[in-house]
Subunit: 355 residues, 5 copies
């Protein structure tokens, strides 16, 4: 996750709009195209080349999911855009991986672009990947940057005919995939929540510069996340509202439900933001408390010993006539006096609740 989508600007300044330039890193040699074609009776999954795609488009009664992994082959994508009648800007958006999540509704098709997030392992960063959905009659095309996605369970439901997905159309498939994406946001947030709690404990018990840096890092991540997730509400809300001609009435309640999940994601994120501010306060207060304790120790030691040292200093003076020095028990009197003074001081500190 980076704050400024640098590559885009560096690569694209000066290019005509609508020029297809892939702004990410290339992670595959070849673009992988996987199709899943299904209806209630039948299902069919295959890795194909783009040339073979045409034959799968004939049977219009089946739902066809075309999953394209790898965006670096812009010639192929350009050709595909032309074949499927997509606007130049649509294809440009698909390959610009720093796109703000957006929804565009055209007469012929609907495009939704958002970020798929996954936690690779507990320690590591969040893996963010742009994913684009194009819904066009019975066909759903998805574009991914890299292999590896959050759709495994949806594939299983289609292939093993679980739930009602095989009975429904491509709009429901779109919903199911979006749902999988949003569900993974919860996992990511859960991860963040755990980090905040651990920082909270650190801030409370052992506040160090390291805690501060981690806290700061974590706040910045939330800031980023917020910018990524906020527009998704509009995207999902917009599919229900503006893409009426592409969404069947049956699928709508599911989209509404998904929309509410998205709101829950956003609210959770806001709570985390508040919490991380709280942790910062906690950290600063912890630090103040420690400082306070350090100061108290210093003060107690100084307040007890500085006067005593003074007394010792007085009797270390070399005046010829100092009557106390000649007393036989003078030394012991002084020691006793010092002992009493110390006890008095300790009593005073206890009364002040410093010890």
């Amino acid at each position: 996750m980076k704050i400024l989508r640098r590559n885009k600007e560096h690569f694209k300044i000066g290019l005509p709009p609508g020029a297809l330039v892939y702004t990410g890193e290339q992670s595959l040699k070849e673009v992988e195209i996987t199709i899943i074609s299904y209806d209630q009776e039948d299902v069919y999954e295959e890795k194909i080349t783009y040339e073979n795609l045409a034959e799968h488009l004939i049977n219009k009664k089946k739902v066809l999911w075309i999953d394209i992994v790898g965006l670096h082959d812009v010639d192929l994508l350009e050709k595909m855009g032309l074949d499927f009648g997509l606007h130049r800007l649509t294809m440009e958006d698909v390959v610009s991986i720093d796109q703000r999540p957006k929804l565009e509704v055209f007469d012929e098709y609907v495009i939704a672009i958002l970020k798929m997030m996954q936690c690779i392992d507990k320690e590591s960063e969040i893996d963010e990947e742009q994913i684009s959905f194009i819904l066009k009659d019975g066909i759903l095309i998805t574009f991914q940057e890299r292999p590896g996605d959050v759709f495994q369970f949806v594939r299983i439901r289609i292939l093993e005919n679980r739930g009602s997905i095989r009975k429904r159309k491509a709009d429901y498939l779109l919903y199911a995939l979006l749902d999988a994406v949003v569900d993974n946001y919860f996992v990511v947030l859960e991860n963040i929540g755990e980090k905040i709690e651990s920082l909270e404990n650190q801030a409370m018990e052992d506040p160090s510069t390291k805690t501060l840096a981690a806290l700061y890092q974590q706040r910045r991540q939330l800031m980023e996340l917020r910018r990524t997730i906020y527009p998704i509400r509009e995207v999902i809300g917009g599919i229900e509202k503006n893409a009426e001609h592409k969404i069947s009435k049956d699928t709508k309640p599911f989209l509404r439900d998904l929309y509410e999940n998205t709101i829950q994601v956003i609210e959770t994120m806001e709570v985390f933001r508040d919490m991380s501010s709280g942790v910062l306060d906690l950290y600063m207060n912890s630090l103040s408390n420690r400082m306070n304790n350090v100061m108290k120790v210093l003060t107690i030691i100084s307040t007890i010993f500085i006067p005593l040292s003074f007394v010792a200093g007085v009797y270390g003076m070399n005046f010829e006539y100092m009557p106390e020095l000649t007393w036989h028990y003078g030394y012991f009197y002084v020691l006793t006096g010092m002992g009493i003074a110390t006890l008095g001081m300790l009593g005073f500190f206890r009364w002040k609740k410093w010890i």
Copy 2:
């Protein structure tokens, strides 16, 4: 109360939407079904099994309240959803106990889901439980997670025919139950208000790390509460506005009144939020004040004794020729000088208002 509704995600990722999975803990062996059937003349309360429910549905003139406690028996609930003609997602929402408060209005029925809150005892946490209301013609179905609710007074009013509840229909019963839920929010808030006041006193008089932790905990609880209560405004406002076909004209002023109570709950919560920020400020200032006092003590002690010690040190030097040392009253002159210096210092501190 947890921030991230973990179980849901853990249990449900990969399941088809609309799959009924109870995401809470099981607290009863069997689902308990209690019906109360009443009209102006007659009232009837009974614990029944689901098999016996059918016979109670015949008399459509009476109001029927079906109270279901325990959500773990998803097969039963699935059957019930089918029998009553409820949408799959409705039943899924009922059993997902981490649902955001929501209202769904269908042609045949209305479902409202919110959180019921109770303070078990002063010290303990707030007990939060999801409660769902389904209003369908003359029938009101309520789903609770655990035994124990806030509806005791409503039951008494029905059974003992107090107020006008027996003269009215199921929509009024819905109102009465919602009112009981919202009324309990006030009790919970009162409890929180008392905690804040106690923390305020602690912050003022004896600020310690424990206070800080408690304060922080309390702020977090308010954050949580806010997220739970805020959407309820929409739910209750929505019943009046969007569920016109299910709510009689007579019940509307009551719902409006309830809506205003909800706003009062939210405003009170906001005041508490502000107050708890105020307590944090107070705490930090208290701490600063204490630090200041510690520093003053240190400074007073140091400022008085360090110069005196220096003088004593001077006369402790072993130079062969130090004329003062041979004076007969040299020692007493020095002691007197030290006394005067101390008094001067004390005067200076008093003038500076340090003591």
Copy 3:
């Protein structure tokens, strides 16, 4: 002023809605009913009992103001509600003294509920009292909790026929009374403004824990006030907009004017809120400044005397061979050296702008 309207909830949980329960304290033995009946020619004021009220209702050409003080006699109020054709909830709102300011517009009448505020004396708390206005054709009924109100000047204007009040109808009377209520908010705010200024001076010149506590108290009062006054804008704005059938065209510009006064009240309150935050900052900075000064004194004293004491300590060592000790002017050399060092230190502090 309390934050949680406790009594209400304690007394009323479990009661049917619309049950009349007075939630305040009883301050009068008997409910006092005063009527003022007037038209352009004639005016008539009398304390009556409820039984005698009927005869005054006959002459519908005069404006009739029924002022009821004391809300504890719920039976009487219930009867009155029935006689005047008021909704049960209206009467419930009247006797629930913790009501949020509100406006309800019915076909037959309009009810406005708000808080009347007065400063009893400079030191004391603000006296808050709920006041309800029911406007029904030629009749205006006001309900107060306790004797003593802010309407004295309105009464004088009616009785002595000052201004245009006697030429106008009951809607104008409602306006005149609301105006008196809002005018008193300005007095209350003025009082608060003076307190803030005094706290500001304290924070600047003599910041102590007492200042902090007062400041905190004052912020809390503003928070409370804000909650009380904010909804009044809606109430007064609503009378003009929603109660068209009860308000004559002539009275509208006055209500608009009143509405703008209310906005001015709210804006002033917001400025006070900002100011009191500013005072808190000032306090904290004052404290920091003081701390700084304390630290400087400590540092100056320590920095001067610790090195000197060290020198004295060196010459207090008992080594057998320390050549300086045998010099005749050794002692005076050392004293002179100490003097020069001290002057150097003082110069350094002056250069650092510490003294």
Copy 4:
């Protein structure tokens, strides 16, 4: 500038609404009435008495600007209100100098009230004066509290026929005067901007309690200003939108332009608010930095000399058998050791970047 518009409330509580009471100070013996009457060919300026005003109202083809300075003669103003057919509340608003900026649109006329601000000299406070504009067909009446205004340049443009003002109607004159008022806000803001910059330098280089007080004062002034200027946006936006019957189509683009200037004023003010918060932060940080430096000096001095003094103390002990004391070079060994320790300390501090 005062926060609570005190006089108003003190003078007016208890008076009937619409009663004309001037709430400011009287600065002139007599109300000054100046008329400027002009059309494209001709222009005419004269100080007149109210009695002579009538004759100037005859020629309806010319634009007539009646400028009234001094609001204390309420009888005159009342008469004037009647003569010109103004609502009582309009005249009340004119004489209440604590009026919130407002616009009232009547069928016959439009009244706009706002604040005219001027910087008398760099050091002094901002001079604020209420100014009311009444636009009625070919006549524009302005009411000012005191002599001295910001309209000099407009007068010159009329009298010397510069620009297009003489070709246009009274609505354009209203625009030109409003433009002069808003232009002066920029001057006032520029002044404030300079103060903030000077405070910024102070906070950076020489933070003292005086800086803090000035900063606080300055923030409060901005708060005040904000409350005065914010509503002006509505006023000027409202003239274009709501007073369509009084504003010619030609004048509208000018009003739109003026509206944008007002927004620029408000935005500049917001930037100043942010900046002054920034200066406060800067001040606090500057102070922390100084404190830090003070602490470092203290620590360096203490850390170097306290251990050395201890060593000196050890060799000042009077034990009979202390072998080092009898060494011939014991004293020099000790001095050398102390020197080495000091150098070590200084190296440590340099490593810690304290010196």
Copy 5:
């Protein structure tokens, strides 16, 4: 970039509105006029004088871009405004270089004014320049203050016929230029992002007053930038919405895309604002941490040596009868005792996690 647009006010107070006064600095001797005229087949670029412009206006089928650099020759601009039928205020806005970004839609033409920003070199300030676009049928006129702009790539695309620009009309040219302006905002933001990161490192590792000043400067720059960039959203959104008669249907998707880029610019800026607040927090915390460490060193040194010095002082007293002094190993016992005490102290500090 300055906060208060001073020159404007200084130069223009007292002038009639619509008077053309150039408020910037003159950077060219002569106004430079460059035209680019093109259609799909042909393209033609030439530097001309205003007198020669007329001949280029004849061919209405080609797109004509008139680029005017230098705004000081107000007579020329005034003439030009008349020739092209522009409103006086339009020309005034063009030459007032402190104009807030704005869009004005007239029947005959559309004017958009915004700021072009460039980073001259990494260290230097951002170079801001006002740029105005007037779109009138087939003609696009741009006004720049100084030579040097961000349109080089657009010129190349036209001259070398890259992309589709030559096939499209003047509205697309407007889009292409706006796109170039907005693209450069990203470069500016990237620059700022790098500065923030560098400040972040400084704040973390070496917080000094210099960091604070730089941070403060940087925040102020962001404040300024925000004020400049925010209104651009409205401008670009407005072209699509309000200038329907000037924008072809084909160009709209491009404008929508540009609008989303603008939103991304604004969001990035907001993230930077948050981040720079975060850096300030980090700075303050870093400082606190350092202070804390300084205090700890002071406390450790004092706590160890003050008690030891006291002991040494005790045995430096000159009492005649002090039995320990005569013990043969007294001195060594004391030294050993001191060593043990020191070790104890160090253990205590380690337990407290201070060292």
